[in-house]
């Protein structure tokens, strides 16, 4: 994992003290809320429905054991004993007190963490593949590139006041596990004739105007990657709309001027940017890359495993993925046990996961955009003990990518922007489909729920998506089918009139029944939908 150098640490420490002073001045009445709000947002502090909410950055979703322990400590000491892992691979605390926030940030800084740029119209936390460094299908480890982008984007003076927030994802495999094409910039590292570079996609996003990013550049060599990304940002910063918040994202700019014209301008800008020499010298990139060297795997580790315990076997099949190193595996920890709040983990559970990382996964964890946790490097021989420990902590739900592995935003239970509650709907659907055999029979089925049009719950990208809306003061839920955030990215389509809270659960069951009735061998729900179209589902829902 990357470790701060003196510059990283000093800027984070300085920011803590700067914010401490700003909080002190706000509490003393020296600055108004209007003056203070942009300052607190730059430090990840929102005022939500019930209290202040602090969003802590987890760079490209990667954490060490001690960092994870710190998150548990913050939950216990400053919050109400839990945290919420988000679709941006971050963590949020829902019950923060303003006067304690500087102390929280100071504690986070001791483990090289912060909340900088987790809000505001700037470049947000870089997201990446949760299997980075462990997946057999990656052409390179995307984390050094994500780290380079983190360093470049942190306090970037030119991009601190963009027209709107800006999200970047970096992946390095054909299988997209990071919803890359639904980011403002998506980078897929690829090799062309043995040379490493990136495919550049720009202008994706969810929200009220969802778009899948078009490919802007088929191949940018690694030596030019940072300059090219800077050129992409510069064109946006120059021409992105600042007069209308709903039209301010880069996806709108590209939609309005067209991908070809945007590409032409980026290419022109790239020539100017390249001359500035911002791409790092090889020695500096090598320094960063060295932090992501593979851990000291046991070269003789065996892949043999005892599957006699049926519950363990189900968990193995569902939540454990192949590792590029023989004798090792990738463990997915689902935070979606029936009845759970998607993405929530108690301080005790966070500590358990941290301990497991330290003991069994070379001290490393990942947060996924699906609001789960990954232990990326677990020896196969240790899987039974890891499973037993997770099971004892209520963390062994064997439902990865099944219908109960639901992404849900905090919704109206916590969020001041929401129009409807998301979590109770997720819980009711999870209860309806709690039977393990039924879930597994349905197979891969990604269900995603947002409590408002801002789409933090990625409903546009759900095989089944649910959008909560306000219908004359009551909660109502629209159903969408056919979305995907993966390499086969697509946007879901609304089925028709919405449903109330119980009705949407019934509606989900109806569409799954249609799927079971018409699916062909080997087809996922999404495949069937794409083959048969919307009509059979509409007929079942409204006919």
């Amino acid at each position: 994992m990357y470790q701060y150098d003196k510059y990283d640490q000093s800027i984070v420490d300085a920011r803590v003290e700067e914010f401490r002073d700003q909080v002190k001045r706000r509490l003393a009445g020296e600055i108004t809320e209007d003056q203070f709000k942009p300052l607190r947002l730059m430090n990840g502090l929102y005022l939500q429905l019930h209290a202040y909410m602090l969003r802590v950055a987890v760079p490209y979703g990667t954490l060490s054991g001690p960092q994870m322990h710190m998150l548990a400590h913050i939950a216990r000491k400053y919050d109400r004993g839990y945290g919420h892992f988000t679709t941006r691979q971050n963590i949020q605390y829902n019950w923060i007190k303003l006067d304690e926030c500087p102390d929280i940030l100071a504690e986070l800084a001791t483990v090289e963490m912060h909340a900088i740029q987790t809000s505001g119209n700037c470049i947000r936390n870089i997201s990446s593949d949760q299997y980075a460094g462990a997946a057999a299908d990656e052409v390179a480890d995307p984390r050094p590139w994500a780290e380079l982008l983190r360093q470049w984007s942190t306090f970037h003076p030119e991009f601190t006041y963009l027209p709107r927030k800006f999200k970047i994802a970096v992946i390095a495999a054909d299988e997209d596990r990071a919803a890359m094409r639904l980011h403002d910039i998506g980078i897929q590292l690829v090799k062309k004739d043995g040379v490493l570079g990136g495919r550049i996609f720009v202008g994706g996003g969810m929200g009220r105007t969802p778009m899948i990013a078009p490919e802007i550049k088929n191949f940018v060599t690694a030596d030019d990657l940072l300059s090219y990304v800077e050129a992409c940002l510069r064109v946006y910063n120059r021409y992105g709309r600042r007069d209308n918040i709903y039209k301010a994202r880069i996806k709108i700019l590209i939609h309005e001027i067209g991908a070809d014209e945007y590409r032409r301008q980026v290419e022109e800008e790239f020539v100017a940017v390249k001359a500035l020499g911002i791409d790092p010298p090889q020695a500096e990139f090598d320094r960063i890359t060295a932090f992501f060297a593979p851990p000291a795997f046991d070269a003789g580790a065996s892949d043999a495993i005892d599957r006699t315990d049926p519950d363990f076997a189900v968990w193995l099949d569902q939540n454990v993925k192949p590792h590029k190193q023989p004798g090792y595996a990738i463990v997915n920890i689902s935070l979606k046990k029936t009845g759970d709040i998607p993405g929530d983990a108690s301080a005790d559970q966070i500590d358990v996961m941290a301990d497991l990382a330290t003991k069994y996964s070379f001290d490393e964890l990942r947060v996924t955009h699906a609001q789960n946790i990954v232990l990326p490097h677990v020896a196969v021989r240790d899987l039974p003990e890891v499973w037993r420990t997770l099971d004892a902590a209520g963390l062994a739900a064997a439902n990865l990518d099944l219908i109960t592995d639901i992404i849900a935003c905090p919704g109206l239970d916590y969020c001041s922007l929401a129009n409807a509650r998301s979590i109770p709907v997720a819980q009711k659907i999870a209860s309806r489909f709690a039977d393990q055999g039924r879930q597994r029979d349905l197979g891969e089925l990604k269900l995603k729920i947002s409590g408002c049009i801002n789409a933090c719950g990625h409903h546009h990208a759900g095989h089944i998506g649910i959008l909560g809306v306000d219908k004359k003061g009551t909660e109502n839920y629209q159903l969408l089918l056919g979305g995907s955030g993966a390499e086969d990215a697509s946007l879901g389509k609304i089925t028709g009139p919405g449903f109330d809270e119980d009705g949407i659960v019934d509606a989900v069951e109806k569409v799954t029944n249609v799927y079971l009735g018409v699916r062909a061998d080997g087809e996922r729900f999404l495949d069937t939908y794409r083959r048969v179209g919307m009509e059979p589902f509409k007929e079942a829902l409204y006919g």
Binding site: L27, K97, L412, P424
Partner: protein
């Protein structure tokens, strides 16, 4: 009826104007009539409340009931964690 609500500045807690001060319990809230904005200006300037605004509510035997579900959830707490609300003993359906 009209209620004045906002958040306590240091803690962020949801608070309600009682006619003479602030309470964390919506049952204590007073009808501000047409005075809400004026009270808001004074209280906010004194930093006794943050982000205050006036909402519609109905008078009921159990006290004021905010008109919109969002405000009813603000008044109670998260319906999915009743243990963290001001009334752990009630049903979450109370907000509907």
């Amino acid at each position: 009826m009209k209620l004045l609500t906002g958040n306590d500045l240091p803690s962020g807690d949801v608070i309600w104007w009682t006619g003479s001060g602030w309470s964390r319990h919506v049952e204590d809230a007073a009808d501000t009539g047409t005075d809400g904005e004026a009270i808001l200006a004074v209280e906010q300037a004194a930093r006794r409340v943050n982000g205050a605004y006036v909402i519609d509510a109905a008078a009921t035997p159990d006290g004021p009931r905010p008109a919109h579900i969002k405000e009813r959830i603000r008044a109670l707490g998260p319906t999915v964690r009743m243990d963290l609300t001001l009334k752990p003993e009630v049903s979450p359906e109370v907000v509907l």
